[in-house]
Amino acid sequence: MSRPEYLAPPEIFYNEEEARKYTQNSRIIDIQVQMCERAIELLVLPEDQPCYLLDLGCGSGLSGSVLEEQGHHWVGVDIAQAMLDVAVEREVEGDLLLGDMGHGCPFRAGCFDGAVSISALQWLCNADKASHKPIQRLYKFFSSLYACLTRSARAVLQFYPENSDQMELVTQQAMRAGFYGGVVVDYPNSTKAKSFS
C-alpha cells in the first residue's frame, strides 16, 4: 500500500471526500477503536475517574469516541478542516481545534491528565513545505506536549513509522524533550504503538 503521507500534505489529503470515506469505512473504524482502546490501557489512568485528555491528530473523532465512551473529557487537535467538520457532524463530545501539531501544542502548562495520538505522528516525519524541518517540528511537538501534561501523565502515541530510522528520529526528539519510555510493538508488521511518559 502506498503511504498517504507521500501523496499530499494531510490538510489536502483529508479533503471532504476522503474524510467521509475514512470515517464510514467499517474496517478503519474497528482498527482505530481497537488502537485507541489499547492506548488508553497504556495511559494507566487512575481507575474509575474521568480524566481530561488530549487527542493529537484527532481527525473525525473515531479515537475520541473511545475516550468519551470511557467517560473522559477530551480536546482534539487536527490540521484537516474536513476531518474536524465530520467530527462536528458526528456530534463528538470533545472540543476541537484546527492546528498543526508541528507548530506545538498551544496549551498552558499542566493541563492534561494524558494524551493519545492514533495513526497521525508519521505525518510529522515528512517535510510538506520548504520551511518544514521534521526534526524541529518533532521537537517542538514533543516539548510543548510535555509541558501541557500534568506531572504524572503519560502520552501514548500510536503511529506507522516507515522504517527504523524514522522510529529513531521520533524517539530521539521525544527523549530530548524530556519523555522517557518505550516502544510497544503490538501488531508486528502492521502497527507500532509507542508510549512515552
Binding site: V75, E93, P106, R108
Partner: protein, 124 residues
Amino acid sequence: MKLLTHNMLTSKCLKGVSVGYPLGINATEVTTSVVDFDPEFISRLIPKLEWHALKQASDIIGEKGYLPEALIADYENNEEFLKKVHHALLEIEVVSGNLVCPETGRSFPINNGIPNMLLNEDEV
C-alpha cells in the same frame, strides 16, 4: 469551543510571544447544551483553572456576574457552586467569533465551533 478549552488555550506558539494568555474572546454566536454533571471531575479540574480568565470569559460570553470574582473556599462541598462552574466550563459553547493574542493582537477565527489556531510559516 467550550470555556474550559479557552481556559487552557494560549498563543505561545507564535514567534516572539512569551505567555500568550489569556486569549481575548469575542463571540458572534453562542449555544448552550446539557452535559452530565460530575462533581468530582469539576472539583479535580478547579485547581488547574485560571479563575480570573474563566470569570472574565463567562462575563463576556455568558451572563455577567454568573461566577464570583474569586474562587470560593471549600468548593468541593458546595454543589451549587460546582454546578455553576460545570455550566460555565462545559455547557456554554462559542460557535463563531474569534480569539485574540494578548501580546500581538493576532486574531484566531472560530467557525463551526472550531478555533483556527493554524499559523503561517513566518509566524513560528
